[in-house]
């Protein structure tokens, strides 16, 4: 059975229809990449799936049951990392991770340190996040992936500011997640290298190439 089922999802923002009658299923072992040009509604879609937005029409089902009835069960099964990753600049990576883990995934400090080492932040555990680079701050948020047992991950632009080797490492992590029966829904502008597991959903109209002007028009 599909983990998450989306039926006839329609969302309108600022008098503009972002997507209409969008239906898809997310099964275990799948990595789904939401594609589309800027402003196509990728982040909006992910926020709807996470339950952060309410002005939409359609149906969401978690494991076959309407989302509104199994909301708390769904939240316990969800890891959501948004566009803004929720990393406090005045707290250190360890303190950030500790605060997150207390709410979502109880873990010992040893496990938190290990997760930070996995995202190559060993040695930075006690430095305020505000003095880390953008990529390192993103890694603080991504360390949650190494702790989370949640079956569904929703990742919005998770690879922003991450270097090439970091992206490769994350691809391996996502492939492993899919193999273990988890599901991932994500947006990214990177070309993902995930043979087998990857499925793409395209939002918005395909970007048309700008019309080539005739030479006389230019004169």
């Amino acid at each position: 059975m599909a983990l998450l089922r989306v039926e006839r999802l329609t969302c309108e923002r600022d008098d503009r229809i972002l997507f209409q009658d969008l239906s898809f299923e997310v099964g275990s072992g799948e990595v789904i990449q939401i594609e589309g040009p800027n402003g196509a509604g990728k982040t909006t879609l992910l926020k709807i799936l996470g339950g952060l937005l309410q002005n939409w029409e359609g149906e969401l089902y978690w494991k076959g049951q309407p989302m509104s009835e199994v909301r708390s069960e769904f939240l316990a099964s969800l890891l959501y990392i948004g566009h803004k990753p929720g990393v406090k600049a005045v707290l250190s990576p360890l303190e950030n991770l500790r605060a997150w883990s207390a709410l979502h995934e109880p873990a010992t400090d040893d496990k938190l340190m290990a997760a930070l080492a996995r995202v190559r932040l060993a040695g930075y555990e006690y430095v305020p996040c505000g003095s880390l680079s953008a990529g390192q701050q993103r890694r603080v948020a991504l360390a949650r992936l190494y702790l989370s047992q949640a079956p569904l991950w929703v990742l919005d632009e998770a690879f922003t500011a991450i270097d090439r080797s970091g992206v490769e490492q994350l691809e391996a992590l996502l492939a492993n997640k899919a193999q273990r029966g988890g599901a991932v829904i994500m947006t990214t502008h990177h070309a993902l290298n995930l043979p087998g597991a990857l499925r793409k959903i395209r939002l918005g109209k395909a970007q048309e190439a700008p019309e080539v002007l005739e030479e006389e028009d230019l004169l």
């Binding site: 996470g50 005045v90 207390a102 709410l103």
Partner: protein, 230 residues
Amino acid sequence: MSMPQSISSVFMAILRRDMLLAFRRRQDLANPLVFFVIAVSLFPLGVSPEKSFLAEAGAGIVWVAALLATLLSLDGLFRSDFEDGSLEQLVLSPSPLYAIVLAKILVHWLVTGLPLILLSPILGLMMYLSSDQIVLLGLTLLLGTPVLSLVGAIGAALTVGLRVGGVLISLLVLPLYIPVLIFGAGTVNAAASGLSVAGYLALLGAFFMLALVLAPLAAAAALRISMTNS
């Protein structure tokens, strides 16, 4: 699936995190306190240094200043969490938002309301209040300032997504602050005229209990609305 966390451990975790955040930004903490002290100290200079005037108006002045100082500090209650995305993580936590919001309000009171109460005896002395009146002033603030934090959280939650939040909070919250102010300052004045204060204190206590039960619910609902429209 992650294990659902016990409510008390989530409450403690938020409490610890927010206290840590507050102490990392100590200069923000000082703002309302400095305002409180300055506002009260200006009355003897600006209006009258006469003992008769100050002893009569003192409790009211301290209460008004405490109310405005709390109002000043409200905007920051959810804003930084909203701006860096932490609020999304809080709202998406499987634990009840009520407990999370209540913990945040408690921290707000601990870093603004409580210092105001601790400062009030010094300002009371400056206002020529008798020692009985000073104790009573502290007691009314102890019952009243948590109400200010609790009710203020509703306003802060409703306006967190807006750029002009600060002004709107004042307009939204001030009418709800008025009864607290009337009974808070009224208690001390009643005692000065030799009346019984039990009724006043009972009413303030009732305000506190009512706000404690209902305000976090309203603030949690308001946060969800603010998230939805951002």
